[in-house]
Subunit: 349 residues, 2 copies
DNA sequence: TTGAAAGCGATACCAT
DNA sequence: ATGGTATCGCTTTCAA
């Protein structure tokens, strides 16, 4: 708990002035400080285990090299975490540190969290949400360079760049995967109506059908929710007591937990997956999709990449590396199909 | 993007000196500054939307009011998140901010992460892991008040306080719940051998049996791993092709994902839960245990409370509020039994 | 009751 | 080539 060495300590030990220490340790020694002194300084710094006080630096430079991240709900979600993980990767590699504040879904806390971050002189801000959604951008975010990840500005004239997954294409390609396997009766457990992500995924499902000239049975579409029990109950409604000829041959789910419920129900009904029924997930949730039995074919959300991209945009803006100043206000990152065991050719009837 | 108002701006607007502003805004105005000036200062501060620069404060006070949190693996885990959530709760309520650095399981990054945090003058450090485990405490942690959450010092003479769940009692009480329901043939899917948490839970299972004079069948204990597929395969080994009289009537799992695998296998074998087979989980994982069909009886890990407790200890030490200086180096937080639908009376034979 | 000045740690400019 | 000094924003002590 002894205090850290300061530049002055190093200077004393090396028998030079603070300024010399600063110059040498920042690589501007040559041409300004004698070779000998340089060596002594470097050695002294080494011996004292010196590293500059970041607080003092921040005050001096008026740049803290800290990025504030405002999160929706990191706490209970493995999703948010991946976005933040990707963002932090990039930040760290460029010499920045991230400070995460989690509002635990209470948007009323947004403003004060941002004030706190601003008081700490963050160089930039990032707003992250668990699911794709529109947000009211807190006013404070406009005071420093900012970016939105997995959410977008609800305002008529969006002022911030946002990075979001391409859910529409994701929904379409997931459906195309099933259509390509010969399925023509594909049920959909679509999440909840109020989620933009869910709506886009459903639209993708419709688009794929339209493009393939395959009719859609509206009674096969349930906006059921997101959890295992919803998947289970939805499947029971679709399959229990229904004659094989009338059964959908595939169920597409708006997330992987729904798919778990579907698999559970299928098992209880004595149906084999994928022989009797194909199951398609969404998200590629860690430790769920890959370890299910059978493992889930799913549409992976590019969360890490969203985080990386958003942070890259942000730091480019902060550091003025921003070559493409005239880029659009939106970056869409594609989802990726992960083919595993839960989907297979449609059963012949 | 205009710069924030400083105390000097407020002073000018109110027609007083910086010192007066400082005194008034810190509640030390009375007796030092004229009532009138006080009002003018407060009004000016309001108008300029003034709040002090936390960086400057940190430098001046030699206290940053920042707590550094070093995490194992927040990114992919909903578990870690809950500990950090609890810790952050407490920190925020006491005027501190937390900075989380995630090493993504790479302990080689520990030291540099702590250096970074120390350079930022954090007032304290907390080390958080996903699963209960021994760690080599990075040297830097001894330079400021520190605490361990969900992990403990591997060293012969532990130097830091740690807060961990009482896994032994958890394992025992989970087993007692099943014994109380009349089960006498309880299989155990025990996680992986190298996890201290798993070992303690298994020991609790043994202790409960011993206390109840119930024999243990060693061939019912599998150290299988932690994932859905492990639960599925373990269950198949235990139940598939086994005559009803020879089957265990309950399966206790070292986590909830294993329990999902068990339920899946049971469904495929045509067994009803809990009528034919009781399933006991562990962790009370969010959105899994509560939404399974049937919902899982489980032993909840007190993650949030671990985070809260650890942060409270840490801040007490930092602020000298530490009345109980002579407390032990270990705090154990009890797990909590959550009774849901997946366990029931043992079937009569 | 008020204001001036020192100091927290580091950097950059400007004399020497 | 080198060291003294102002500066970042704030608090605190001391003098007026």
């Amino acid at each position: 708990m002894n205090r850290k060495a300061t530049a002055l300590d190093v200077a004393k030990r090396a028998g030079v002035s603070r300024s010399a220490v600063s110059l040498v340790l920042n690589g501007r020694g040559d041409g300004n400080v004698a070779k000998e002194s340089q060596d002594r300084i470097r050695q002294a710094a080494e011996e004292l285990n010196y590293s500059p006080n970041a607080i003092a630096l921040s005050l001096r430079n008026q740049r803290s090299r800290v990025i504030g991240i405002l999160a929706d709900e990191v706490v209970v979600s493995p999703f948010d975490g991946n976005i933040i993980g990707g963002a932090d990767d990039v930040a760290r590699s460029r010499g920045f540190v991230t400070v995460v504040m989690d509002t635990e879904r209470d948007t009323a806390r947004d403003a004060s969290a941002i004030e706190t971050l601003l008081d700490r002189q963050v160089d930039g801000l990032m707003y992250v949400t668990v699911g794709l959604k529109p947000i009211d951008v807190p006013h404070g975010m406009l005071r420093v360079p900012s970016v939105l990840a997995n959410c977008y500005d609800n305002h008529a004239q969006p002022q911030l760049h946002h990075v979001i997954p391409d859910e529409l294409t994701g929904g379409r390609e997931a459906t195309e995967h099933l259509l390509a396997l010969g399925h023509r009766d594909i049920a959909l457990l679509g999440g909840s109506e109020d989620s933009p992500a869910a709506r886009l995924r459903v639209q993708g499902y419709r688009d794929a059908h339209a493009a393939a000239d395959a009719p859609i049975r509206e009674d096969r579409i349930f906006m059921a929710g997101w959890d295992i029990d919803a998947g289970y109950r939805g499947t029971m409604k679709l399959l229990d007591g229904v004659s094989p000829a009338d059964r959908p041959t595939a169920i597409m789910c708006a997330n992987d937990r729904l798919a778990v419920g579907v698999a559970l129900a299928a098992a209880r009904l004595g149906l084999s997956v994928p022989e009797d029924l194909s199951i398609m997930g969404y998200d590629d949730e860690n430790r769920i999709a890959d370890t299910m039995v059978p493992s889930l074919t799913t549409m992976a959300l590019p969360l890490r990449e969203i985080g990386r991209t958003a942070m890259t945009k942000l730091l480019d803006a902060i550091e003025g590396t921003d070559a493409g100043k005239g880029t659009t206000a939106e970056t869409m990152v594609p989802c990726r199909l992960v083919t595993r065991e839960s989907t297979g050719p449609a059963p012949t009837r």
